[in-house]
């Protein structure tokens, strides 16, 4: 067992882990942040997506020890300081970008990474960037629409209108 310390959503969290402990397990079981979902545990679905040092990763495909000393942001760190929904979260609500909601944390974290890199993506770029995130409910149209809307673009002509 090895000690590990990382900053999660601005708060320092320490724990003891095995070499094989996944970052997703550490976040859910030791940090108690269950907003990060584990859908497949095989690096396919992207539900476990979070940010490590500002970059999106699948936390089921990274060891907790590899994040030692890192800045981690999870879905719990995405709301505004006053607790209101962030622009991206609000857009998901406004445009019905979720149904069961299981994929949503990963979708929001991915959208945030995309908009940081590319503030006004085209619809094709949004769809391409979501290639590692699966949704079994929505058919993606409203997710794409929500992300385009969050980027400040007119979405009246996009996807499932």
């Amino acid at each position: 067992m090895t000690n590990v310390t990382m900053t999660i959503n601005g708060r320092s969290v320490s724990g003891t882990v095995e070499g094989r402990t996944l970052l997703s397990s550490f976040i859910r079981e030791q940090a108690g942040l269950t907003g990060t979902h584990v859908g497949c545990d095989t690096a396919q679905c992207g539900a476990c997506t979070l940010h490590v040092n500002g970059e999106s990763v699948k936390s089921c495909n990274m060891f907790a020890l590899e994040a030692d000393g890192a800045e981690v942001t999870t879905i719990e760190g995405m709301a505004n300081d006053d607790g209101s929904l962030s622009t991206i979260q609000q857009a998901f609500q406004d445009h019905h970008g979720l149904q069961c909601g299981f994929c949503t944390p990963g979708m929001v974290m991915t959208a945030a990474a995309l908009l940081k890199e590319n503030p006004t993506p085209t619809e094709e770029e949004v769809r391409g960037y979501l290639s590692g995130n699966l949704c079994r409910c929505t058919g993606y149209h409203n997710i794409v629409k929500a992300i385009m809307a969050a980027s400040g673009q007119d979405v009246s002509r996009i996807a499932a209108e």
Binding site: T2, T42, G46, N61, M62
Partner: protein
């Protein structure tokens, strides 16, 4: 996963020392290794993480040769842009999250028969730098998941001579995003090189017939009429050996057209 120790050395020397332990194995981005461990297909005693070693990261352009540290991520290569065909290839591996973790050294050392980077290395005539020697790409990739690396030897950098023209086109298997067939073509000072991934049972290979034809005439038409035997091609539920052999010709033409 079976249990193992995970160590995070900060220097190459310490990593090499740690890899000398029995059943120790290097861990780079882990995008292939972690799924492999989860399936209990590997049982290392120790994983030696390379992610904390700064000297293995970064991209340098030295007089027309791009030297990329082994622990450099696909995302970093995609952003670099000084060898456009290579950045384009790196930017289409897996998905954005995989590209933020996966590394060039890990991909090259794993030599998956459907991976993209081996085609770039072989197609560009790259040199693979290890902790104790330099190996030309022609000698490095020796077969399915096999390379010239010795026990305890790791890739530290890959040096790409930037060619006059180059392009990579892959026919993507949409679920895995690996290449069903991928072709990297490069027009270099010493002639044209054509490297094919995803197709052969033996892993990445050079298509010498196409190289000869393109040497005289670097245009898609030069590939017309050339065929590859289907004997050694991969056959699986995504495509038969004959289909893959046919695709190699089609994708080579597209790659030449893209290289311009």
């Amino acid at each position: 996963m079976y249990a193992f120790e995970l160590t995070r050395p900060t220097s190459l020397a310490d990593a090499i020392k740690a890899l000398g332990e029995e059943d120790a194995q290097p861990l780079s981005g882990g995008q292939t290794l972690i799924p492999t461990l989860k399936q209990r297909l590997a049982m290392p005693s120790t994983l030696v993480s390379l992610s904390g070693i700064e000297e293995l990261k970064g991209i340098k352009n030295e007089g027309g040769t791009l030297s990329i540290g082994a622990a450099t991520t696909h995302a970093a290569v995609a952003r670099d842009g000084s060898y456009p065909a290579l950045s384009d290839l790196a930017g289409h591996i897996g998905d954005p999250h995989v590209r933020n973790r996966g590394t060039i050294g890990g991909s090259i050392a794993n030599n998956d028969p459907s991976a993209c980077y081996p085609a770039a290395a072989l197609g560009s005539g790259a040199t693979i730098v290890t902790n104790n020697r330099e190996i030309g790409a022609d000698d490095f990739f020796t077969g399915l998941f096999e390379t010239a690396l010795d026990e305890g030897e790791i890739v530290t950098a890959v040096k790409f001579p930037i060619p006059e023209k180059a392009a990579y086109v892959k026919f993507e298997q949409p679920a895995s995003r690996f290449a069903l067939v991928g072709v990297f073509v490069a027009k270099t000072a010493d002639g044209v090189r054509v490297a094919v991934t995803g197709a052969s049972e033996g892993g990445v290979f050079r298509w010498s017939e196409a190289e000869k034809a393109l040497d005289g005439n670097f245009s898609p038409d030069a590939v017309d009429g050339l065929t590859l035997p289907a004997d050694d091609m991969i056959g699986d539920l995504h495509g038969s050996p004959e289909y893959r052999a046919h695709l190699v010709g089609v994708i080579t033409k597209r790659a030449v057209a893209k290289a311009g």
